[in-house]
Amino acid sequence: MKLTLRIWRQAGPAEPGRMVAYEVPDANPDMSFLELLDVLNERLTLEGDDPVTFDHDCREGICGACGVVINGQAHGPRERTTTCQLHMREFSDGDVIDVEPWRSVAFGVVKDLMVDRSGLDRIIRAGGYISVNTGSAPEAHATPVPKPIADTAFDNATCIGCGACVAACPNGAAMLFASAKVTHLNSLPQGAPERTERVLNIVEAMDAEGFGGCTNTGECTVACPKGIPMDSIATLNREYLRASLGRK
């Protein structure tokens, strides 16, 4: 496959960036998108050019480190797929592919396609935890959890924090991410002690990071590689109202 990549190149956070075109004449349909970038980087390095910086780690679609906007879509055209699990067979020979970093004022570009997502970590720090005695973890079966609640919690726990929801949102909002954390922990008995403070603190942290507000466009759910639904956002709002009204 012969492909043309137009990649956002930016030397540093304060530097101006621009789209630069690269030819990749030897792409293989079985390559993942990150492997395609590896091949390009190997050539750039040999030619003495600066390789394209991008985030990646497990390359199994479970860590949430990778993620770029491919042709205007976070993680590319394939549904429920991270960039590392996207293969070049999704594209055709001769395609021109635009590759850009996540865009949100809360995600500053570090270099090229790498952005600073520590804002999401600070949201987790604000409320993405439960208080347990880790010295002697209790027997898991001691706390019964009804199956539908366990399912809801698990579905939301699959969020890998990649930030695709923020990238896809026309408002640069982190509502889907925050709502996955709130829904996951607030629906479980283990999360009950911090139920009220969790949602208030998470929303406060989200606002402090400069993320936009939710207008319920649903773009985030389309981009999410884990299929977190809009219902989680309704749950966050419900929990927030409950906490604000001071109900225990």
Partner: protein, 208 residues
């Protein structure tokens, strides 16, 4: 926005049903229009209820618009850089036109009040003669055209707005999502069609 939006929606349903009284004839409609001014008597004096309702609605519009302005400002600030490759929107047309539709509706409300409340722009413009005032306005094709455009904007605004309000208030659940979306579309169609029957009937000569 959810609370004020639902309040205005409630008013619109009653407003739309009241408008349909025009099909019962001049006397019925004018009598109804007159009664609107005296609701609440004798507990409330004269047009007090009318003024209370006007005040509440004005407050709802102002709060709704203020929230929309604050939210839009925050959202535009959060995404200053657009993607070089245009994003293919997955959301529907109704979601896409919320801002412009809202501004259009605000301008329309001003026009509508000048037309039928203050009668400044009304061709007939006789206080108390609601039936003839309505007929005189909608007999002009471009006035009816303005109303058609505005009511389509209203329908689109309600289709996204109603569902979005259910989300904001945390009332949406997976088991209810289809029902809430259905109700949103149903209300949108009902209000658009219900409001447009009158101007179209006047223009077609069915009401004169």
């Amino acid at each position: 926005m959810a609370v004020t939006g639902l309040l205005m929606l409630l008013f619109l349903i009653v407003h739309m049903l009241g408008n349909l009284k025009i099909f019962y004839g001049r006397d019925d409609f004018d009598h109804y229009a007159g009664w609107l001014r005296t609701i609440g008597e004798p507990v409330l004096h004269g047009a007090w209820y009318l003024w209370i309702q006007r005040f509440v609605l004005l407050l709802a519009v102002v709060l709704h618009a203020t929230s929309a302005y604050q939210l839009s400002r925050r959202d535009l600030k959060a995404r200053p850089t657009k993607y070089a490759h245009h994003q293919r929107a997955q959301a529907g047309y109704a979601t896409h036109v919320m801002r412009y539709g809202g501004i259009t509706l605000a301008l329309f409300i001003i026009y509508h009040i000048l037309d039928f409340t203050t009668l400044t722009l009304n061709r007939h413009g006789v206080e108390g003669a609601a039936y003839d005032n309505v007929v005189s306005s909608f007999s002009v094709w471009w006035v009816t055209a303005i109303y058609i455009v505005a009511m389509i904007c209203l329908g689109l605004h309600i289709q996204h707005g109603f569902w979005s309000a259910a989300q904001t208030l945390g009332l949406n659940r997976p088991s209810r999502d289809r029902a809430v979306r259905g109700l949103a579309t149903g209300l949108a169609v009902l209000l658009t069609v219900g409001f447009l029957i009158v101007p179209v009937a006047v223009l077609a000569g069915l009401v004169d």
